[in-house]
């Protein structure tokens, strides 16, 4: 057991951070957020650069043109993407690598849905991965509008760097427009939840940095606001949320077998909370500055709201985790800890 990152993993992460710093610096994020026509489609040049860097093909075997790496490495890359608030249907295109031609190379964008609801970057996508059934399906679409089969309407997206459609209905299985592909939809859904959690994790750590940096530099009442216990303690709780989420997300990336679903649910639940609540607290630390468009914190909060509703809601994760508990309980041996004191008490003197 060595939970820490290997040197290769550190190098991979550093490479991704370097790529994003060069191709997607903060000014780029800000200019996307300010796009006058609403959230723009993904930058095809950057998409291709990601493809060349192996972001999408990462987990394909080398003979399939991939890097032969696993979920832990994918999690590290998605954490970096979340940290930089990189927009685009990253998770879906990554999952589509090997299933949709061009996805692995970053030559096309793919979005995905597991049920009716919000679809990101639908109008610019070349394909939609449908994960509502047992087997995954691919719906090929022509970029430029939402596919009719989905009964989608465009939303004025709260996340100004992510165009959204609200999809009313997925095409029913025997539907000519969607083709079945050889992949287990529920596995892909779990992976999508995990990689989304990794993005939330990156965002959660980034808002800790933003809050700490602001608290160090902003002075009020003659000293840095970071010297006030109220601000210190907000920042401390932010770090705790992020660290706890990290332990859960990294561990879930290593989990195999049936308990994997529970680990992923825990990861999604904690990473969603960390992203949204950290952005929220970061905003509070920033005071009035946090309420302006110019501060980055609102972009994290809005992306966090979007991501927390994707793939696995809190309610679903909590129910799944509760059911896992019950399953464990039915396998619990009657050891010295397992006895429920209720039974002991119930056997006692009842005056009747």
């Amino acid at each position: 057991m060595d939970f820490r990152l290997t040197d290769d993993q550190r190098a991979l992460r550093a490479g991704m951070r370097g790529l994003l710093a060069a191709r997607y610096p903060r000014e780029r994020l800000r200019s996307l957020a300010d796009s006058p026509g609403g959230p723009p489609a993904p930058d095809r040049g950057l998409w291709q650069a990601l493809g060349e860097a192996g972001f999408f093909a990462l987990r394909l075997t080398e003979q399939d043109g991939g890097a032969g790496l696993g979920l832990p490495e994918a999690v590290l890359l998605f954490e970096e993407a979340g940290r930089a608030l990189l927009p685009g249907p990253l998770v879906a295109t990554h999952l589509a690598a090997g299933l949709v031609p061009g996805a692995a190379e970053g030559a096309c964008t793919v979005t995905a849905l597991d049920r009716p609801g919000p679809a990101e970057h639908l109008a610019s996508a070349e394909a939609v991965l449908l994960l509502d059934g047992r087997a995954a399906r691919v719906l090929r679409v022509s970029p430029g509008g939402a596919p009719r089969a989905l009964r989608a309407r465009p939303a004025r997206s709260v996340d100004s760097t992510t165009p959204l459609h609200l999809v009313r209905q997925l095409p029913r299985p025997p539907d000519g427009s969607a083709t079945t592909v050889p992949a287990d939809a529920s596995r892909l859904c779990r992976e999508a939840a995990l990689l989304t959690a990794a993005q939330q994790l990156g965002s959660a750590f980034r808002t800790v940095e933003l809050a700490v940096s602001y608290a160090r530099n902003r002075s009020q009442f003659g000293r840095p606001v970071g010297a006030f216990q109220a601000v210190q303690h907000l920042c401390a709780e932010m770090l705790v949320r992020a660290e706890l989420a990290r332990a859960a997300v990294y561990a879930a990336s290593l989990a195999t077998g049936p308990e994997g679903a529970a680990e992923i649910a825990a990861a999604k639940l904690l990473a969603d909370s960390a992203a949204v609540r950290n952005a929220r607290d970061c905003l509070q630390v920033h005071g009035g500055q946090g309420f302006t468009w110019e501060a980055d914190v609102h972009l994290h909060l809005k992306r966090g709201w979007l991501r927390e509703g994707q793939w696995q809601s809190a309610a679903e994760s909590e129910e799944l985790l509760a059911n896992t508990l019950l399953h464990e309980a039915s396998h619990l041996p009657d050891g010295p800890h397992a006895s429920d004191a209720t039974d002991v008490l119930d056997a006692e003197n009842v005056t009747a």
């Binding site: 705790v240 660290e243 332990a247 508990l325 619990l332 209720t342």
Partner: protein, 389 residues
Amino acid sequence: MDLTFTKEEEDFRDRLRTWLQDTLPRLPPEPPADDWPARRAHDCAWQRALHDAGYAGLHWPAHAGGQGATPTEYLIFIEETERAGAPYVGANFVGLLHAGPTIAAEGTAAQRARWLPPILRGDEIWCQGFSEPEAGSDLASLRTRAVRDGDSYIVTGSKIWTSHAEVADWCELLVRTDPSAPRHRGISWLALPMNAPGVTVRPLRTLAGTTEFAEVFLDEVRVPVTYRVGLENDGWRVTMVTLSYERGTAFAGEVVACRRTLTSLARTARANGRWDDPVLRRRLGRLHAEFTALWRLVQWNTCEAAHAARTGGDGAPGAGASVFKLRYSQARQELYEAAAEVLGPESLDTRHEWTAQRLSSLSYTIAAGTSQIQRNIIAERILGLPRGR
């Protein structure tokens, strides 16, 4: 990132599991909670069994009489003993986890030879004399003073929150040896024989009605200078080694136990019908996520400690342990709040173990550094925020 175990680690786990299966059924039943001499005897017998099987001081270095196990093996030990329902470390806690490691790290060869073997064999019990009535979170403001008199210190003052004081042989004691020095200087670490003239122990009743803590009054108690560990006035640094142990893997076994309790909650809720309430069910589901992550955080911290040990560090958990302590203490309280919800009116009966635990869990956000202090540590030492004033 790798959470699988090596062949050696799996072998270690198998041997331990087999030994536990053989040994635990032969242990005598747990004594009553308020019979301290019986509890001491029980805890010491368990420690002696561990010692004879080669598990005593598992993670202590060999030069201290330990087994030199890796942090991973130590974690396996904690996990397996807890899962098997083995006795808690109990009265041996301070010896094995505070005083012993301090002596191992800072004591002379003679001190190690005198004090460590009886700890490992379960022959001698230690207690801790750090906190004082007027020095709680502000430990460095302690007032118990030790005045040098020839080859001895004359110690006068009082200590509080001392576990197992009634049955302890020794007390690791912090005293002020230089009242004129700045707060963190002028403190020394002494081994106090609890049977020395002038030592009085008075049980302290907690809000749970239990008396696991005591106050210790010291009235001109004579302690030989040779019982000082580390240099005179260097006790604060010596203590920090000990405290960082307390904030590390010390809670690992409790996390395993909490996970078991959570499973029992689900079973009880299913049996009494409360499982049908989605509010409660989702609350238990979220606690499951929390404790899963806390266990992963224990593993993370253990691996960091193992790495530090391999690369020449001391293996003591760093400030990151505050992250764990802060969240764990809160989660433990939430767990027993949820337990009360599961029990319903039954939770008003203190004979229910979960009700007793609900009460004792209230100390977790206070003891060993309040949550407020932990947040300060995280903000200032990890995040580098300016010192609060």
